[in-house]
């Protein structure tokens, strides 16, 4: 069983230890619109706070519907939405694509796909998807809003303004559109119009930090130092780590003659900028480590992850990745320590919780392992490896019912996970006292997906499967 536990940690860990939760920042992102540009809340349907059971139910229902009608675009769309809510973006993207394969005129699928592309900072692709969405559904306000945002990001201010004005024709109270138009006006140097739009956005949506920052910047450019300072302070109340707002506040204070406070804020701005540089360099080392790891250079990868940690001690990912490498290098204690360190850096790091749990299984501490898997799933309800590892741990605790449920959940989110099919098949066979039809199906499916797993299946069952 230990070998199985190791199996389930490593291949899963290998892919999951990737830079899963780090923003997909490009090297040129310092250019262009503000980093907090977000015109709508359309992506807020993600997962983190969704009750796990509801997410599971939604995915389950969608899969059932697809089984009933494999070519139903609507069902694939529902599956995509449910997977997205479960935090499984890659799977969701495939589901949306499948929906569009079934029906290219499904505007909502274009829209949802566009949102995922935008989340991955693939602006051009996202713009293409949103454009298709509005072609199919010209009154799709959110799609137009997102399209406007993409145009802004791509620097096409005229098209951005056109889309955002269309949004306002459809919904004059859309705060995001006013904010976006404010940015367009700002870029065009039309400060009074920008100010009006930002103010409108703020009046329509309380605590709209980005709009507040835009307003402050507009006031600063008009040399209205006092009101600009107040506006920047409000923006910083919503996002204290904004370099833009900190620098703006410092500038306004300096112009107001408040030298001491200005100096303090300028120093903060420098520090924020420095933090950003450090983070990028650490991320670069982390990425290099991943490349080396993928190439099989464990020592090189470990060195790169350590360099990333040295550059930025509070950066969780390299700790998690180093843990994975050390695990492969058989340094169990070192791995355990790194997984823990990753969680200390970021308590909501689902992948690190999963890995720590796996290491605990190996160490024989099943109860704490289960705790870690459950924490991982609370953060990321659709996390297939965590479901699988939890099932394995419950199985060790002889909680067959719980284990069976978790294997099913694993397969709900990742129907292609061969090991889950095999383990579920074995569990079902054990429960039935033999090769039941369900067990036979799962084992067959598992071996079909990965014949190398034959070693996990007892000979008597293999015989039966023939």
């Amino acid at each position: 069983m230990a070998r199985r536990a190791v199996y389930c940690v490593l291949p899963a860990a290998f892919c999951l230890l990737r830079l899963a939760a780090t923003p997909d920042l490009m090297a040129q992102i310092t250019s262009g619109p503000p980093s907090n540009l977000r015109l709508s809340g359309a992506t807020s349907t993600t997962s983190a706070g969704s009750p796990e059971d509801r997410v599971v139910d939604d995915v389950s229902a969608a899969r059932q519907a697809i089984r009933a009608q494999p070519d139903s675009a609507a069902s694939h769309l529902s599956l995509g939405v449910a997977l997205k809510a479960a935090g499984e973006q890659e799977s969701a993207l495939k589901a949306f694509q499948k929906a569009l394969d079934c029906d290219p005129r499904l505007g909502e699928a274009w829209f949802e796909k566009g949102l995922l592309e935008a989340d991955r900072q693939k602006w051009s692709r996202a713009a293409g998807d949103f454009r298709r969405a509005v072609e199919v559904s010209p009154n799709h306000v959110d799609a137009r809003l997102e399209l406007g945002e993409m145009f802004l990001r791509l620097g096409d201010f005229k098209q951005a303004a056109d889309e955002l004005n269309t949004v306002l024709r459809l919904d004059p109270r859309d705060a995001g559109a006013h904010y976006g138009l404010g940015l367009v006006r700002l870029q065009q140097g039309d400060l009074p119009a920008a100010e009006a739009d930002f103010r409108q956005a703020i009046s329509l949506k309380a605590n709209f930090v980005a709009a507040q920052e835009g307003l402050a910047e507009t006031l600063l450019r008009q040399h209205r130092w006092s009101t600009a300072a107040a506006a920047f302070e409000q923006a910083l109340a919503g996002d204290s780590s904004s370099l833009e707002a900190t620098n703006g506040l410092a500038t306004a204070l300096a112009r107001l003659g408040q030298r001491a406070r200005a100096a303090e804020e300028f120093q903060k701005a420098r520090e924020l900028s420095r933090r950003d540089l450090i983070f990028h360099r650490a991320q670069g080392e982390n990425n290099r480590g991943l490349e080396l790891w993928h190439a099989g250079d464990l020592a090189g990868a470990a060195a790169a992850f350590r360099a990333a940690i040295a550059a930025d001690g509070v950066y969780a990912e390299p700790h998690n990745n180093l843990g994975g490498v050390l695990w492969q290098m058989k340094d169990r204690n070192g791995a355990l320590a790194e997984f823990q360190a990753a969680i200390r850096c970021r308590s909501d790091f689902a992948e690190a919780h999963n890995n720590w749990g796996s290491a605990l299984v190996y160490a024989g501490d099943i109860d704490h392992a289960i705790e870690q898997f459950r924490t991982a799933l609370a953060e990321r309800p659709g996390f297939p490896s965590a479901h699988f590892n939890l099932a394995m741990a419950l199985s060790k605790k002889r909680d067959a019912t719980g284990a069976e449920a978790e294997f099913h959940r694993t397969l709900l989110f990742d129907p292609q996970m061969a090991a889950a099919h095999i383990e579920l098949g074995l569990l079902l066979a054990s429960k039935a006292g033999g090769l039941s039809p369900d067990a036979r199906y799962e084992l067959s499916e598992g071996l079909r997906l990965d014949a190398r797993l034959r070693s996990l299946v007892p000979a008597k069952f293999l015989e039966g499967l023939r």
Binding site: D24, M26, T30, G32, G155, G189, L243, N247, H280, N287
Partner: protein, 555 residues
Amino acid sequence: MGGLCFVIPVFRDGKQGQPVLAPGPWFVDAARRAGLAAFHDTCGSPAKDYLVETVGSGVALFDYNGDGLLDVFLVNGSSFEALENPRLPRASSRLFRNNGDGTFTDVTRESGLINEGWGMGVAVADYDNDGHRDVFITNFGANALFHNNGDGTFTNVTREAGLEGGNWSTGCAWADYDRDGRLDLYVARYVDFDRARIPRPGSDTYCRYHDIPVACGPQGLPGLADLLYHNEGGGKFRQVSAEVGVRDTDRAYGFAVVWLDFDNDGLPDLYVANDSVPNFLWRNKGNGTFEEIGFEAGCAVSADGRAQSSMGVAVGDYDNDGWMDLLVTNFSEDYNTLYHNDHGQFEDVTFQAGLGAASYSQLGWGAGFVDFDNDGWKELLVANGHIYPQVEGITNSYRQANQLFRNLRNGRFAVVSDKESGFTEARSSRGAAFGDLANDGRMAIVVNNIDQVPFLYLTARRPTGGWVRFKLVGVKTNRDAIGARISVKAGGLTQIDEVRSGGSYLSSSDVRVHYGLGGASVIDQVEIRWLDGSVERLRALAINREYTVRQGGAG
């Protein structure tokens, strides 16, 4: 004007009054006709898999042989193959002698100015005050200092001077920051580049651009601290960055470097355009040390507080208010930033000046505020070109037309159409330098284009006004008079500029200072503030000529 002023009128062929603008473009590219197309830049592989292959090189305009004519030095890159295999031919930088008839002759071999490293930047100055301009070249690899022997040849004195640096140096500029009469040198450095450690294009987030696999960096890669060298005399330099407070502790990705007196206190300050991180303004405290005040002075980041990906920098008082302004060229999907200087405090006025939208798609490099039409107001030239060939036809153009912005004399600029500017051929341009190649009062531009032949833009239109040019000779200060400020009062305008070496993008322009005079028929007053604080004034000067002024010689 006193009798002690040493004045040499050179040319008088400019017309007084207000000539009618000739039709046709502002510039024509005369590189082929002039023989400069014999130079072809080499910068790594066409695919540009590594950042070092994307940044190109600079250009210098200086009179290497003392014949009174500006010669052209084009820095060349190299390739990994050439660096790794000594048997392969090297792509040397090239020195072209100005024949005085509109043509140039490659004199690289006989001059000995042979830089076979992977050349980046260049700054020219007479560092040993012997009357001959010397050449410092930054490389990917060891840098090189070539001493001008005064007989048309150069000697590589890098090692004796202690200026090798290391790894990847970029911008460089000379100035006498402590006013001891000897020129010091600032060298910006970029990425701590180890090819074996650089990820493959597309392999991670820092190696993708709009989802296209491209060369990685600079973000995500380690940087290198810039270096300030103090000229100790006797041909020796000492690296003094830390001891004088120039602590680039975060190892920013430095590119263009320019010395300027931004606060009019008579001391050379230093501006460094950094890629992806805030730019530096090192204020000279006057006691031999510096403090970094980019944020406080308002020129570290854009108006909205973003660190931009800065490449080049132009310095000039574009609105003739007596304070040196800055134009910083940046990456595409961003604008080139115009920082207006108001009594030492900068403000990003890009959009108010009409420069925002026009530069948004372009990736800017070399830049200069130069009065091309001699109307007394400086135009703005920006050399453009993307770094990723992979963007061609997908998100942008690798080859981008250079841009000329006409000064509207009200704080605003208007982009001149390609047809009108004459910049109709798009290449991927990098360094740009400016100077009067024919000594006729018309400022020319030489642009180094990556993997291409250069542009030589000559003024095609007759300038709208008269001109004057000053060549200063320092006696108590450095002989090139670098750091001296010249104020010219004529036709109701007072224009300022400074003698400098190094700027634009990794380039070095004519150290002589050119002024357009508009319709003025006489120069009312010229005030020269030498770097040692002494001030000399010249009055009632004739226009359309060059004046050589030796320090202490003006009455």
